[in-house]
């Protein structure tokens, strides 16, 4: 007998945060951060009609993240300070550890999220292409035309580089654009005709998979430290999320490897081949059939890579490269802690913070892994 299907609200889902206590802690800390830390350590409870504060209250953490109090150096946790209690003690410059710790949580969390999103987008695109086309990337494809146009733009840029002696200013730029368009048109027509004549275009296939994986391998073998330092020497970091973007650009290779292996597993499935034989376009198959079926395992790799970015950011800050000095970071707090072995709280709390975030993401990934298999 078939069971009657009725709509039942998913009661279990309401209490999902209780199943993940570490996520509950992180969510509470992030949501109530505006309440816990604030400018001056003072919060307005009641406002008058003119917008002025009538009643003030000291916040639970009564200190700003970067505020140095000269008399309060290396105080143990829970000691009373001039404004309020130092919940996690103070460091060697008299800064409140708890305030800096909370800001560090915020920076780490958002930074790694941004880096993870960028890495997954880039990695998915590159790895997916490698998996889908495998060793038979058709040369007479639209992408081959893209390559030709890119070549034309490169050549015309070289020409422009010379031409700016002749026609200074805007004239050179405009003639460069026209020249690029003209050149790409000629190259496209002549190139495709020549290829057709030789018969290469019907059979010509590129081993895109091997090319991409070689590229990934070589990119991985360049130390991230070098890439980071080179980029940092060229630009000035003004916002914390810029570091996130940089990390994402450096760390896309894991996601690409993953997308490639998952995608190539899928391509052994019969229904994908059937879809191809039915004449669906490649882009449509990629977007409508392959992407949705790798989404659950994508969650796994997303959480793992975010955890890796948290570790990377704090390690770079630990070396003094990542976030600039005005942003409080767990990595730099740890590095400072090495000089003061007697004050255990300087080392313990940043380590606990890193562990909390990374553990949360790892556990999320494990749960997703269980569900997807």
């Amino acid at each position: 007998m078939k069971a009657e299907q009725t709509y039942q609200p998913n009661i279990k889902r309401v209490g999902i945060l209780w199943k993940y206590p570490e996520w509950l802690i992180i969510a509470l800390l992030l949501i109530f951060q505006a309440f816990l830390v604030g400018p001056g350590g003072i919060m307005c409870v009641e406002k008058s009609e003119e917008g002025q504060c009538v009643e003030e209250m000291t916040r639970p953490i009564a200190y700003d993240p970067g505020e140095m109090i000269t008399g309060e150096k290396l105080k143990a946790p829970l000691t009373e300070g001039p404004k309020g209690r130092h919940w996690m003690g103070t460091d060697h410059l008299g800064r409140d550890v708890a305030a800096g710790w909370l800001r560090g949580l915020y920076y780490s969390f958002t930074l790694s999220l941004i880096a993870g999103i960028i890495a997954i987008l880039v990695g998915l695109m590159i790895g997916g292409l490698a998996a889908y086309y495998g060793n038979r990337f058709p040369i007479n494809h639209w992408s081959a035309e893209c390559i030709i146009v890119a070549l034309a733009i490169l050549i015309s840029f070289v020409v422009y580089h010379q031409l700016r002696f002749w026609l200074p200013g805007l004239g050179a730029l405009i003639s460069f654009l026209f020249f690029g368009l003209f050149l790409s048109f000629i190259l496209w027509r002549l190139g495709s005709k020549a290829l057709k004549r030789t018969g290469l275009i019907a059979e010509g296939r590129l081993n895109l998979d091997q090319m991409v994986m070689t590229g990934v391998e070589l990119f991985e073998s360049i130390p991230a430290l070098l890439i980071m330092l080179t980029i940092l020497s060229m630009i000035q970091i003004a916002f914390y999320w810029q570091v996130g973007i940089l990390l994402g650009i450096i760390g896309w290779t894991t996601a690409a490897r993953f997308a490639r292996s998952e995608g190539s597993k899928l391509l052994y499935k019969k229904y994908i081949r059937d879809l191809q034989r039915l004449g669906l376009s490649d882009l449509k198959i990629l977007w409508k059939y392959i992407l949705p079926s790798i989404l659950p395992s994508l969650g796994v790799v997303f959480s793992y890579s975010i955890a890796a970015f948290i570790l990377a950011e704090s390690f770079l800050s630990f070396l003094g490269i990542g976030l600039p000095g005005e942003f409080s970071s767990w990595g730099r707090m740890l590095n400072d802690a090495r000089r003061f072995p007697q004050s255990w709280w300087l080392g313990l709390f940043p380590v606990l913070g890193i562990f909390l975030l990374v553990w949360a993401y790892h556990r999320l990934a494990r749960q997703l892994e269980k569900k997807s298999t």
């Binding site: 038979r136 991985e220 360049i222 052994y268 081949r273 070396l319």
Partner: protein, 460 residues
């Protein structure tokens, strides 16, 4: 998440492809080393002060030329070049700044004779200015002279030249006449067409590749020491902490992973421990250990005895390397344990394992001959990822415990902008990674014939 390796069909193809990848790695290193911001030699020699005597600047430039020749930096970049036509004497000038300035004039007027006269006049002016007695006017005029070279606008630099000549004429006996430029009315098409030039084997790329392959790695820019005498001791230090860590982690990890995989419900402690170590980065663990051990004083924290690894006794090793090796081991062990235990859990359920049990094969034989060999393949893949990572990734441990290994060397040379050392290290790292990956591919081809069949069987 173990990936199927990129397709390499036969052993021959693998060897050719490995050589190709090595060449690619060398070329990438070359391109990277030539595109670093700033001239490393100029940094090494120190910049000349803006308004110093020109005589000193000339000396500085001579020194620079000497070093350029020694590092082959005065040679063309590649075997051939595609260049636009302009007079040869411009290309032979030493300074890029003057070349650039003169090319602007050349493309505006295309008058070679006048250009030569203009260049000679510039040199004469420089000579006369540096012969002036009054120091302050000399400095002012010198700065004006170098301002002319900086300008890329033909019209304005002519005006500046006129003003400078008027000032110099007022102070010296020899009188200069500003050149009145005449435009060459001939056809300009010859200059629009690029020319292909062949430079032969005496170029920077050829020198870099042959030197890197034959071991002539040159000298460090920071202290002038040969790079080989920097890298190989560092490699010794790195290996002497990494190898014990890797072996220890493998030894413990194989036993604990097999045990946890065979009895998933009894191995909870090792499972949670591995999860904790997986989430705890090496530098955090090392910092915590340092905080603990400096307080308790049980083990020395910093390996302040910096001696080459060959002279270190067993006792020294035990005292100074216990903490770094343990820190490294924790992470690697967690990795191996997790990989192996999940794989063993999967293999344990395979039909051939049950069949072996039913046939009455002893438990230990099933464990070591049936399950273990069939569950280490993903571990090999992971080790190929892990091994090169260990070489460079021991940076955290080396940084914290102050061990002069490869990671520390890379970090120091990066911050000190010691580019020859940096790019040799990267080339070495890339080479090791490529060779290890190819070796893994070869092992797969030999020991797991299923791989070959899997590759692109049904793709598209």
């Amino acid at each position: 998440m173990n990936s199927i390796k990129a397709g390499t069909g036969s052993t021959w193809r693998l060897i050719v492809f490995t050589l190709f990848k090595l060449w690619l790695a060398g070329s990438i290193c070359f391109i990277l080393s030539r595109s670093t911001p700033g001239d490393p030699l100029e940094q090494y020699l120190g910049y000349p002060a803006e308004n110093r005597y020109i005589a000193e600047n000339a000396q500085w430039e001579q020194e620079l030329q000497k070093y350029r020749a020694a590092y082959h930096l005065d040679r063309p970049l590649f075997y051939f070049s595609i260049q636009f036509r302009y007079p040869d004497f411009i290309a032979q000038l030493p300074s890029d700044k003057i070349q650039h300035h003169l090319r602007h004039f050349f493309y505006s007027y295309r008058n070679e004779a006048q250009l030569k006269a203009y260049y000679n006049q510039l040199l004469q002016l420089k000579k006369h200015i540096s012969g002036l007695d009054n120091r302050s006017t000399r400095n002012i005029l010198e700065s004006k002279w170098s301002d002319i070279l900086k300008s890329h606008d033909v019209e304005s630099s002519q005006q500046e030249m006129k003003a400078l000549i008027a000032q110099v004429n007022a102070r010296t006996e020899k009188k200069f006449n500003p050149i009145s430029w005449e435009k060459n009315t001939g056809s300009a098409w010859a200059y629009l067409w690029p020319q292909l030039q062949w430079h032969g084997f005496n170029n920077q790329y050829h020198h870099w590749m042959t030197d890197a392959l034959t071991g002539k790695w040159g000298k460090s820019l920071r202290d002038g020491e040969p790079i080989t005498s920097k890298i190989f001791p560092a490699l010794g230090w790195t290996l002497s902490i990494n190898l014990p860590a890797l072996l220890l982690a493998l030894f413990v990890g194989v036993f604990s992973g097999l045990r946890a995989g065979m009895r998933p419900h009894s191995g909870k402690f090792s499972r949670y421990l591995s999860l904790v170590f997986f989430a705890l980065p090496v530098y955090a663990l090392a910092t915590l250990l340092i905080l603990f051990f400096t307080k308790s004083g049980w083990l020395p924290v910093f390996s302040s005895v910096v001696r080459p690894p060959s002279e270190i006794t067993v006792l020294d090793f035990w005292r100074y390397f216990t903490l770094p090796v343990l820190c490294l081991t924790a992470g690697v062990w967690a990795f191996i344990h997790q990989q192996l235990s999940t794989q063993v859990e999967k293999t344990r359920k395979a039909p051939y394992v049950s069949a072996a049990y039913f046939r009455g094969v002893p438990d230990s034989v099933v464990k070591w001959k049936y399950i273990f060999p069939n569950s280490i393949f993903p571990l090999i893949t992971s080790l190929t990822i892990l091994l090169p990572g260990l070489l460079a990734g021991a940076l955290a441990v080396e940084f914290i415990f102050d061990i002069p290994g490869m990671g520390k060397l890379l970090y120091d040379s990066l911050l000190g902008k010691d580019w020859p050392v940096v790019f040799m290290l990267i080339f070495l790292n890339m080479g090791i990674i490529i060779l290890v990956n190819s070796l893994a591919d070869l092992l797969y081809l030999k020991y797991d014939p299923r791989r070959e069949q899997l590759q692109y069987k049904q793709v598209i």
